[in-house]
């Protein structure tokens, strides 16, 4: 755990690196992954709260939306990440919630789908971002939730899975977005839970890791995408938990800290976050007597620490 703390703390010092430069466009999400990881391992004080909050606020546009970094265009993905960061830091009162909600609501289309930004890309990821963001701000009534649900359901495939648009291939990441969005909208009855969970549990490969689509390599990030969907649908026992846990632990970098996409590869903040979250979802938290001390619980729908949601009086997910 200490190595992971060291790894996460070191990220802010790598500002001149190649990786830092080429990932600037998604920095808002990167900060959310890093901060949430720190919170889950009880070390959120590693970041300078005021400095980060100021930076987040400086990425907001007059429209109300947030960009991925300073001078980057507003987008729904980074608007959600910004809200998540401010919630973890308990600084959401610094922003005009109505303004953000109006930006998000303005992206909904007639068929219920959401544009990611003014340029018109449609993707079920954006449906999730919109529903999650508005729900966290307590302003879900700004959109037509029924139509949003209709669009998501139109992206359901014969195998029970979901793609990014109607007709697109079922994919672990998209499945998380759709299932979590339907959970927020109280519309999980549309999901063919058995069919979908059979598809999801078949993603577990011989080594214990999960892949996102048939015949692909396992990747630690699916320990979040697939696993959270299984948790929401109440079928986490349909995979071998111990083998998955072992896969995630084997993907840790034992010298520098952090978690990679699979054992043997280089760690990054994205996979570190999803690996830690996966372990939390699997139940190895400090609340369990055999759990990892200091590992906190994460909510499978909002991808935020349970303690943060409880502080805000947002419903924490309990699988049916």
């Amino acid at each position: 755990m200490d190595l992971h703390k060291k790894y996460l703390a070191s990220l802010k010092d790598k500002k001149n690196s190649f990786e830092h430069a080429v990932t600037e466009y998604l920095r808002m999400s990167g900060v959310y992954w890093g901060l949430c990881s720190m919170y889950l391992i009880s070390s959120e004080d590693l970041l300078n709260k005021d400095e980060v909050v100021q930076w987040v606020l400086s990425c907001q546009h007059p429209s109300g939306g947030f960009g991925g970094s300073v001078d980057h265009d507003a987008h729904l993905l980074y608007t959600l990440s910004a809200v998540q960061i401010l919630l973890i830091f308990d600084k959401i009162e610094l922003v005009d919630k109505e303004k953000i909600a109006n930006y998000v609501a303005g992206l909904q289309q007639d068929d219920g789908s959401f544009y990611g930004d003014e340029w018109g890309e449609v993707d079920t990821r954006f449906s999730y971002c919109a529903l999650s963001c508005l729900s966290l701000l307590g302003l879900l009534d700004k959109i037509d939730v029924n139509k949003a649900v209709d669009f998501i359901v139109s992206c359901m495939n014969f195998d029970g899975g979901f793609g990014c648009i109607p007709g697109a291939e079922s994919h672990g990441g998209q499945i998380f977005c759709c299932v979590a969005a339907l959970a927020i909208a109280d519309s999980l009855h549309h999901v063919r839970a058995d069919d979908l969970c059979w598809w999801l549990c078949e993603r577990q490969t011989a080594g214990g890791g999960l892949n996102g689509r048939p015949e692909k390599l396992p990747d630690v990030c699916y320990s979040w995408w697939n696993l959270s969907a299984l948790v929401i649908l109440g079928r986490i026992d349909w995979i071998d938990r111990e083998k998955l846990r072992q896969f995630i632990l084997n993907a840790q970098d034992e010298t520098e800290g952090g978690i990679a996409d699979r054992p043997g590869d280089v760690a990054d903040v994205f996979h570190t976050f999803f690996g830690i979250s996966g372990l939390s979802l699997l139940g190895y938290t400090e609340e369990d007597e055999e759990g990892i001390p200091g590992l906190r619980r994460i909510d499978p729908v909002y991808a935020l620490p349970v303690q943060v949601l409880e502080r805000m009086n947002v419903r924490v997910w309990r699988a049916v």
Partner: protein, 396 residues
Amino acid sequence: MLEQLCGSSCSSDETFTIRKGAVVVIGDRLAIGQWCIPRLLRFVKQNLNDWATCQDSSNVKQLIHLTRALLLIVADHATAWNHRKRMIRGKHIELLHEIDFINLVQTKFPKSQEVWSHRKWVVANMLKSTDDVEDFLEKEIQATARAATLYPKNYYAWTHRYWVTTRMQSVPECEAKAEDVRRFCRLNVSDSAAHSFRTSLLAFRAYRWLEDGQRRDEHMVDMIRNELNHCITTLDQHPAHESVWIALQGVLHVCGQCLVDERVKVKIIPTIFLPLVGSSDLMEELRAWELFLRDSKSSASSSGSQGSKWRARDLLLAWALQFARSHVHFDDPTATDNSHALRFAAKTLSKVDQQNLLSSPHEKPVEAVLHLKAEILRLLICVCPMQEQAWRSMAN
């Protein structure tokens, strides 16, 4: 720009030596040293915003250069693509030239979602202004084919291809496209994205056909048959590929929806389903069952057609079970082929359950099918123990 930045000139007298200059030449390949990328990106960043906010036309050229440099390194930089969209709107960049630039970027970043997203925006604008829509869409399909070859299971390439193909008006063209993809699938058996494209296209055409009261798509029945035959022959040669079993599941799903049409039944059932199923015990059991159903339903409605609908669906499920069973090595549970065939069989059985074919308050359950179900689930738990709870849930 690079010389300006890094103050070093490049020399390529030693073709196979890696020097610490900004630009490196190795053989016939040109590369930029990784160490100078952060500096280049800082330069671009410092200037990009200034140039973007000025409306001066001379700045536009510089903005085009800056975004081009940036996107060849960081293709996911959405804001840079957005600047280019604004320049396209301002008629400073031609749509066709932008397609050329995207093609270049995609030789290096064939799977980047941001690039495909920008491409879709450009294409949508092209479709509004071009006269030769079909020709243009054809070129788009070739672009997706290149990307799919560069990066296997390319999610966004195949999604774009689906978006483009479903816009083609000409149905024979559509069928020719389906055959191109089947050919690709024969050579790339594990490409789940390609298989998914085929089943989605089949579903798209099938639902449109079903909604058309006159059923004008003459090629629909052939397409269903071609897809089924493709799955069958591929699985007979490569039974250990999960993607193909899932594709078969998808094709059967569509086929089941289309069985309401007599032409589908008449052309597909005798040639594909009956030969394999015809004389099996399973078929006899299910035939007896459908007769019972038809008799009990005929008192409620007028239906000969209701009865024949049941018969066709039962047949399809029986065939699916029989096909899966033919690929299972019951005497050697650890055979590599087994796992996917068993899973397919189990899912088919769950469909049989869903159609209440296994029991009724009036008749005893269909024994052969129940016995098969138990056998398959027992083997599944043995072969795929990680998903034991999932298989046990199927038993209930």
